[in-house]
Amino acid sequence: MNHGQQSGEAKHEDDAALTEFLASLMDYTPTIPDDLVEHYLAKSGFQCPDVRLIRLVAVATQKFVADVASDALQHCKARPAPVVKDKKQHKDKRLILTMEDLSKALREYGVNVKHPEYFADSPSTGMDPATRDE
C-alpha cells in the first residue's frame, strides 16, 4: 500500500510534467501548421478536439524531421570534399541536402530510400537490342 501510495504520488508528479508541457505548448508555435497536422491525422483516423494534442504531434514530427536532417548534414559534412584548390574554397563548402545523404540518414530510422541513378523511359532502355522483347 505504501508502494501504491508512493507510485500514486509519483504518477501525479509525472503527470505534471506532461500537463505542464502541454500547457506550455500553447506558447510555442511549431513550424508545421496545426491545420496541416490536423488534416493528416484526420486522414489516418485520429480525431481529437484538443488543440494541444495536435501541437504535440506537430512538435514530435518537427523533432523527427530535424533529427533526420541533422544526421544527413553530418553525413554531408563528413564526406571528404573534392578540394581542388585548398587556399580558396576550403571553408565555403556549400552543403546541399542530397538523396545520398538522406537515404543514409533515413536508413537508421528504418526507412529505406533507394534513389535511382538515372531515369529510363522504359524497362528495356539501355538493354542489348537483341535481348529486348519487342
Partner: protein
C-alpha cells in the same frame, strides 16, 4: 516503407493510386514541403575546430527530390502517429484520442531507434522518455513559425443537403417514398416533355412543384403513349414529334402517300444519246427525274438516269439545274454511243468491266431491259 525505384513506367501502370503519395501538386503536400524546408534550414551542426570555436554549419540548399522524399516521410510519420494513436484509443474503448494515446504511439514509433527508458515495463506513460525528449527539443530548438499565414484548411464547404419532401412542401409521388427523404431533382428534359405533353395529358397525374424526375418521366411515357393513340385515331392530324430530346417517344410514321413533285420529262434531251451511268437506285430520291424508257424514243437513245455524268451539251445542264442538286460523282468518261442497240450490250459489257461488281449486276438487269426495248424498237 521502401520507396522502390521512384516512378518507373511499369509501376505507373500497375499502381496508379499509389503514385499519389508522392505528388507535390497536392496543396497539403506543398505546404508540408515548405514546413520541412524551414525545419531543415534551421538545423545546425556544430563543429568544433581546433581553435575550439563553435562553427554552425547549415544546409544552404536542397535537392528537390530529396526534399520531396523527406516531406513524404514526414507526412507518413504524422499519419502513422495518428493511426497508432487511434488504435490505442480504440483498444481502450474510446473514440476520441488522448494525450496518452499519442505518447504510446510515439513510443511505438521511437522504439526502433530507442529512447531512454524504453525497456522499463512499469513506468508511467506521462513519464516516458519520448516526452522528455520532446520537452528537451522544444527547449533547445529555436522557434520558427510557419512562413505563410494559412487559411483555415481543409476547406469544407458546408454542403447543403438536398431539401426533403417535407421541407419543400411537395408530396412524394408514390406511397412507398417517405416524406423525409430528399426531394427528386428537376431535370431539363422532363420540363420540356412536360410542356409538350401539357395539352395531351389533362391533369390525369398530378404535377409536383419540383417537377420530380421520376414521375415526370412517367408523364412523358404516358404522354407518348397517349400521343400515339391519338395520332392513330386521327387520320387527318399529322403526328407530331414529341420532343427533340427523346426520339423513342416520337409517334410512328404512318404509311401515307407523300406528295412528290411530278416527274419532269426531259423532252429536250430525249433526242440525245447519252451513255447511261448505271448508278444503283439507292442514290435516287423521289424528286429525281425518273427517266422513262419511251418506246417512242429511237432505239439507240437511252435517257440518262441521273445527270451526274459530264454534260457535253448546254441543254442538259439547263435541265439539270432545274432539278435538285445531287451528289456529283463521275464514273469514268461518258461515251456517246452512236452505235446501234445491238452493239450496245457489247459495249456496255466492256464498260462494266471497268466498274465495280455491284454495278455489273444492276447493269445486267438494265441491259436485259434495254435489250428488250431495243428489240421492241427494232421491231417497230
Amino acid at each position: 516503407m521502401s520507396n522502390g525505384g521512384g516512378d518507373s513506367g511499369s509501376q505507373q501502370r500497375e499502381l496508379p493510386g499509389k503514385r499519389k503519395l508522392f505528388r507535390g501538386s497536392d496543396f497539403a503536400f506543398s505546404i508540408a514541403r515548405m514546413a520541412v524546408a524551414q525545419i531543415c534550414e534551421s538545423v545546425e551542426v556544430n563543429s568544433y575546430q581546433e581553435s575550439q570555436t563553435r562553427e554552425g554549419v547549415r544546409f544552404s540548399s536542397f535537392q528537390e527530390s530529396a526534399l520531396e522524399t523527406l516531406t513524404d516521410v514526414g507526412v507518413q510519420y504524422i499519419q502513422s502517429i495518428g493511426k497508432t494513436a487511434h488504435l490505442y484509443a480504440n483498444i481502450a474503448g474510446r473514440v476520441d484520442g488522448n494525450s496518452l494515446d499519442i505518447v504510446q504511439a510515439l513510443e511505438d514509433l521511437g522504439s526502433g531507434l530507442g529512447f531512454a527508458g524504453v525497456s522499463d515495463t512499469d513506468h508511467c506513460l506521462a513519464d516516458s522518455g519520448v516526452v522528455k525528449d520532446i520537452i528537451r527539443y522544444t527547449g533547445e530548438a529555436e522557434e520558427i513559425p510557419f512562413v505563410y499565414s494559412l487559411p483555415r484548411f481543409p476547406f469544407s464547404k458546408e454542403k447543403k443537403p438536398a431539401p426533403s419532401f417535407s421541407e419543400v412542401g411537395a408530396e412524394p409521388p408514390d406511397e412507398h417514398i417517405p416524406i423525409w427523404l430528399p426531394a427528386f431533382p428537376q431535370t431539363k428534359l422532363c420540363d420540356r416533355s412536360e410542356e409538350t405533353n401539357a395539352a395531351t395529358i389533362e391533369g390525369e397525374i398530378p404535377r409536383k412543384e419540383n417537377g420530380s424526375s421520376l414521375p415526370s418521366m412517367q408523364h412523358s411515357f404516358d404522354g407518348g403513349r397517349l400521343d400515339i393513340h391519338k395520332s392513330t385515331k386521327d387520320v387527318r392530324e399529322s403526328p407530331e414529334a414529341v420532343v427533340e430530346g427523346n426520339p423513342f417517344l416520337t409517334a410512328p410514321l404512318r404509311i401515307v402517300e407523300k406528295n412528290v413533285s411530278p416527274v419532269v420529262r426531259p423532252l429536250e434531251i430525249s433526242n440525245e444519246v447519252v451513255r447511261t451511268n448505271h448508278v444503283p437506285d439507292k442514290y435516287m430520291s423521289n424528286n429525281h427525274h425518273i427517266p422513262v424508257l419511251e418506246a417512242s424514243a429511237s432505239s439507240d437513245k437511252i435517257n440518262n438516269k441521273n445527270w451526274l455524268a459530264e454534260f457535253e451539251d448546254g441543254e442538259k445542264e439547263y435541265v439539270a439545274r432545274k432539278q435538285r442538286t445531287l451528289v456529283r460523282f463521275k464514273i469514268g468518261t461518258t461515251k456517246r454511243s452512236t452505235c446501234l442497240a445491238k452493239n450496245q450490250s457489247f459495249q456496255e459489257e466492256g464498260w462494266f468491266q471497268e466498274n465495280e461488281d455491284k454495278r455489273e449486276k444492276k447493269s445486267e438487269i438494265k441491259e436485259k431491259r434495254e435489250r428488250i426495248d431495243s428489240q421492241l424498237s427494232t421491231q417497230m
